[in-house]
Each structure stands twice: as structure tokens, then as C-alpha cells.
């Protein structure tokens, strides 16, 4: 089997998604055998983009002009470009304040109003380039990353997930935090595949994996309202990971 030539890059994000890959310690020796991590600045130096790649795995959203240059270069050089993590897929936490004035936000952070920034409102990858596949999550599950790489080795993209966290949760025979305990849980609107990690520990889903396809926002907001959570509270919470939720 041909070795997979990869570029792995981080844009505006916490590097946690790349770290999740590096945390696959048991599998790393095997990975090195089959994957050429040619460009992976977080893990290997020197790191220079060179030639073409079978795939580029990109973590993070875009908020600075130099990131656009890097992303376009990765896109041009790579047969496949894959968004890794919720920031790359949806904007994520960095895009939390996208609805507010950049000027005021800069002032609030830097106090002094003479500091200029070339930054702009953080955007997901698909706002700029064609994205071939998405692995969502904050961070993604290790298993998803390993399956992605094993699939890429064979030229395959991951099958998209079409069910919410509730599916994972009920399969684990969990109590429903929202309907049975009146606790705010965003599982019903959030993409599954995490095995309902948080609700299984009694913690309501925070929506970190972004929206599930065909999410029924209106019905979910109604149920949350019946449980004592008003629309804005729920929308605000959803937007912490995905600014595309509309109220």
C-alpha cells in the first residue's frame, strides 16, 4: 500500500485536535509506517510545504490574512482537504463573538484603541475553499481520526454521521437529562459520534460537535422552554461552538 503523504496544519484554534492525533500513542508507531507526515509543524520540524499531498488535514478557523494564504496553498497542493474539529467545520469558540463589532472587541481586549489588527471575524474553512470531508468535535474522537487515516490510505472518505448525540445516549441506556431531569442538554441538536461522552457522565451536552443534519431547532427550543430555558439562553449556548445557529 502506498504511503499516504499528509499535510497537517493548525489555524486559529487551540491545537487540541492535532494533539488528539498525537495522543493516539498506541497507534503512532503503526501510523509512521503508513503515513508520511510531511508537513506537520506541531509535531515535526522543519516543516515546509513542498510538492503535492494526498490530503491536508486542517484544524482551526480563519481569522488572519496569512491563514488564507496557507489554506489556499494547502488546497492547491492537496487532492483532499479535510476539516478537523469544530473550529474548522463551523468556526467554533473563536467565532463566538462574530455578531459583535470587531472594533469594540479589540478595545475590550487591548484596552488601548491605537492597536490595529488585520484580523477579521473568524470563519470556517468552507467559507473559503472546497472541503471534502469534515471530522467534527472539540476535539474529535481519537477513533474518528484513526479511521479517517485508515480510510484515506485506501482512498476513501469517512461516512458522514447523520444522527444526534441522543442516539448514542439512548443506546447507552442513559437517562435523558433534558426531558427526564429538566437539565439543559443540547444533545438533540448536536452531531453524534462521541458516544454521548458528557451526558453519560451526567453533564448536559454542550453542543461541541456542531449541528446534526436536519436539526429541528424550533421543536427543541419548545421543549427547552417547557423545561425552563428560554430561546436566547439555548441559542447563545449553541452558538458557542457554531455561530451559524440562527435565532
Amino acid at each position: 500500500m502506498k504511503r499516504l503523504r499528509l499535510a497537517i496544519a493548525g489555524l486559529t484554534a487551540c491545537s487540541g485536535c492535532q494533539l488528539s492525533l498525537l495522543n493516539c500513542e498506541a497507534e503512532l508507531p503503526q501510523l509512521i509506517e503508513v503515513v508520511d507526515f510531511h508537513y506537520f509543524p506541531m509535531a515535526c520540524s522543519p516543516a515546509l510545504l513542498e510538492g503535492e499531498y494526498d490530503a491536508a488535514l486542517v484544524e482551526g478557523c480563519l481569522s488572519m490574512p496569512h491563514e488564507n494564504v496557507l489554506l489556499l496553498s494547502l488546497r492547491k497542493r492537496s487532492r483532499l482537504l479535510i476539516a478537523i474539529g469544530t473550529c474548522a467545520a463551523w468556526g467554533g469558540v473563536a467565532a463566538l463573538k462574530n455578531g459583535e463589532s470587531r472594533k469594540e472587541l479589540l478595545q475590550a481586549i487591548h484596552v488601548c484603541d491605537r492597536i490595529s489588527s488585520s484580523g477579521y471575524s473568524p470563519q470556517p474553512l468552507h467559507a473559503f475553499v472546497k472541503v471534502d470531508a469534515v471530522i467534527s468535535g472539540c476535539p474529535p474522537e481519537k477513533e474518528e481520526l484513526l479511521r479517517l487515516l485508515a480510510g484515506l490510505l485506501r482512498g476513501a472518505l469517512p461516512a458522514p454521521i447523520a444522527y444526534p448525540v441522543c442516539t448514542d445516549c439512548r443506546m447507552r441506556e442513559n437517562l435523558c437529562l433534558l426531558t427526564e431531569q429538566s437539565r439543559l442538554c443540547l444533545g438533540v441538536l448536536t452531531l453524534g459520534g462521541c458516544g454521548a461522552r458528557c451526558p453519560s457522565m451526567g453533564v448536559g451536552c454542550e453542543g461541541c460537535r456542531g449541528p446534526v443534519p436536519e436539526a429541528n431547532l424550533e421543536e427543541a427550543l419548545d421543549i427547552c422552554q417547557q423545561k425552563g430555558y428560554d430561546r436566547q439562553t439555548v441559542i447563545d449556548r449553541l452558538r458557542r461552538f457554531c455561530p451559524e445557529w440562527k435565532s
Binding site: M1, E27, Q30, L31, V34, L146, R147, L149, A150, G151, L153, R154, A156, A159, P160, A162, Y163, P164, C166, T167, R170, M171, E173, N174, L175, C176, L178, T179, G187, V188, V212, P213, E214, A215, N216, E219, A220, I223
Partner: protein, 328 residues
């Protein structure tokens, strides 16, 4: 009438004897108040008052996720070696027994599923009676499915009238002789809601223009709880994952739901059921009319789980009462 009878104070002894024959599982109420089928430790009484466990016993026969094939380039595809130990499920209600009966017809029919078959062969089913609550509908819908069991315990005020429903049950009953007394019971209150043969009238196709499909679709959250918790929903998706060595692979099946976008989707993204309204009609057809080889045999066993777990409180029952009127 004369019945085999076990008094309530001998229940622990009964469980002890059963445990000699394999792993014993029964409904238990967890600290979170959820009732689940789970291993029953010695000296613990099962929760025989709970009307339904969150997941039905299908989880033992068709786990939520499992490997159905493994591949290696030197051995090609291989079925997994399923090691089954004798498993005794105690405290199954008639709806769940009927649910297992339905799954048997699917998975042990013309083309038996080997993994299911080996698990099923290791299973002993011991039913107990119950009284329906507001979610149950076994008593409202005569069903041709039978609540097949090895033993059935009919609750009375001070114990259980025990009957056998299989050769295995007869044999098991023989080993319980020390606990059994013969007793005269006044009336035969066996209240079996299953096995009432039902001749279905010729059915017209379900009208796709009924506003009900759209109405259900508008409220459905697509969470999957209805089918996950259904004793007779057996739809699964199959995925194959290659190994990192490039020479191995694993094929998994996991529970699916006919209301998911991906359920009727095929290569290239085309779908046989593009919207939820269409999918509801499909779901209804399976639950109340049956399809495929079991066309004409409704698969709903009336356990009430879908009604109880739906976050939006959706219920196909009122529609069924309207559309299936005269069917019983």
C-alpha cells in the same frame, strides 16, 4: 384450576437455582431511576413492578454496535467467533417476549443470521405478568405475534403461577420441583394479550397525502429514541473500517433509525425517503402493517416505550386507531 405455584417468599431461592444454569439478568432500577436489564447479583431481588426497561431485551440479541466480519488479507473475510454462555433473562413482560418472537422470525428465518442464532440459542426466557399503564397498548391491539417463552410466571397476591412454554421450559420446571407446590386458583387470569390470531383486511396503500405524516415530521427531532427503544426495530447500518496496517478490516453493524436522513440514502447522496414525512409513513407501515416477508403482521407489540421516550411526545397510536379501525 390446578397450577404449579411458587410462593413469593421463595423468589430468592428460585433465582439462586436459575443462577446455577447460567448468567442471570433481570430488570433492575439504577441509582438514576432508570430500569435496565442487568446482571442480577445473588441476594438481590429484581424490579418486577417496573413496567418497562429503557432498552428492550433485543440488546442481548442484537447489540447496538457489533463486529459482524473481520478481514485479513491472508484469511479473507471471517465471521467472528461469538462465545455465548447460557443467559437467563428473568422478568420479561409479554410484549418483550413477543418482540423477541418477532426478531426470531427476521433473523432465524430463511437466511439465518449466525451471530443472532448463536446468541438466541444460549437464551432462556422467563416471563412475568404485568398490568398495562397509560403508555401500553398490548391490550388494545390484538396481535398475531406470540409471547413465546420458556417459563412464564403469572403474578398473584402471594406468588406466581408457573407455566412452561417450551421443551426447555419443561426441563427447567423439573429442576425447580423443590420450590413448586400444586395449587387451586379460582380463575384463569392469564390475560395474554398476544397470540390472538388476527385476519387483516386487504389493505390499501397508506395515503401519502395524509396531513398526519407532515404533522409528525414537523415535531420529530430525529433523535432515534423511538427505534432504539423499540423491541421490534431491527434496522441496522453496516460500515467497514480498514485497519492501519493496510491489510485488515472490520465490518460493523449498528442500530439505525428509519427517521434518519442517512437511512434510505444510497451512493451519490440520492435518497428513497428525502423528507421526514415520507419516513414516518415508512415507520408506520412497519409498526402497524408489516412489510417484506412479514407483510400483514404488525410489528408493534404495544410496550409503550416509543411513546414514553419521545422528547416531543409523538405517538403513532391515535393514527393507528383511525387507520386500522376494523382490522382487529
Amino acid at each position: 384450576m390446578s397450577v404449579h405455584f411458587i410462593t413469593a417468599n421463595r423468589l430468592l431461592q428460585l433465582l439462586h437455582l436459575l443462577r446455577q444454569r447460567g448468567e442471570l439478568h433481570a430488570p433492575l432500577r439504577g441509582a438514576d431511576d432508570v430500569v435496565r436489564f442487568a446482571p442480577l447479583a445473588a441476594g438481590i431481588l429484581p424490579d418486577l413492578d417496573a413496567l418497562r426497561t429503557l432498552l428492550p431485551p433485543k440488546k442481548y440479541l442484537l447489540p447496538p454496535r457489533e463486529t459482524i466480519l473481520t478481514y485479513r488479507d491472508d484469511t479473507n473475510y471471517q465471521e467472528p467467533q461469538v462465545t455465548t454462555i447460557p443467559l437467563i433473562l428473568f422478568g420479561l413482560h409479554p410484549c418483550d417476549l413477543a418482540g423477541i418472537g418477532y426478531l426470531d422470525r427476521i433473523f432465524l428465518g430463511e437466511d439465518p443470521d449466525p451471530v443472532y442464532a448463536s446468541r438466541r440459542a444460549a437464551l432462556t426466557l422467563i416471563g412475568t405478568s404485568c398490568s398495562p399503564d397509560q403508555f401500553c397498548s398490548c391490550h388494545l391491539q390484538p396481535s398475531s405475534l406470540s409471547a413465546s417463552h420458556d417459563l412464564f410466571l403469572q403474578k398473584t397476591d402471594d406468588g406466581f403461577a408457573v407455566s412452561s412454554g417450551s421443551p426447555g421450559g419443561d426441563e427447567l420446571l423439573g429442576t425447580l420441583a423443590e420450590l413448586i407446590e400444586e395449587r387451586e386458583l379460582a380463575a384463569d387470569d392469564t390475560r395474554r394479550y398476544f397470540g390472538n390470531q388476527r385476519k387483516l383486511p386487504p389493505q390499501s396503500e397508506l395515503d401519502p397525502s395524509l396531513p398526519d405524516w407532515q404533522e409528525l415530521a414537523e415535531h420529530c427531532l430525529g433523535c432515534g429514541a423511538c427505534s432504539i427503544c423499540c423491541p421490534t426495530c431491527y434496522c441496522f447500518d453496516v460500515l467497514e473500517f480498514g485497519g492501519l496496517d493496510g491489510r485488515s478490516a472490520e465490518r460493523l453493524r449498528h442500530w439505525d433509525n428509519c427517521l434518519f436522513k442517512s437511512h434510505a440514502q444510497v451512493a451519490g447522496g440520492a435518497s428513497f425517503q428525502k423528507d421526514r414525512a415520507q419516513r414516518f409513513r415508512y415507520r408506520y407501515r412497519h409498526k402497524y402493517r408489516g412489510f417484506g416477508q412479514l407483510k400483514g403482521i404488525p410489528s408493534c407489540v404495544g410496550c409503550g416505550r416509543c411513546r414514553e421516550v419521545c422528547p416531543a411526545g409523538l405517538d403513532l397510536r391515535p393514527l393507528a386507531e383511525r387507520l386500522e379501525r376494523g382490522a382487529s
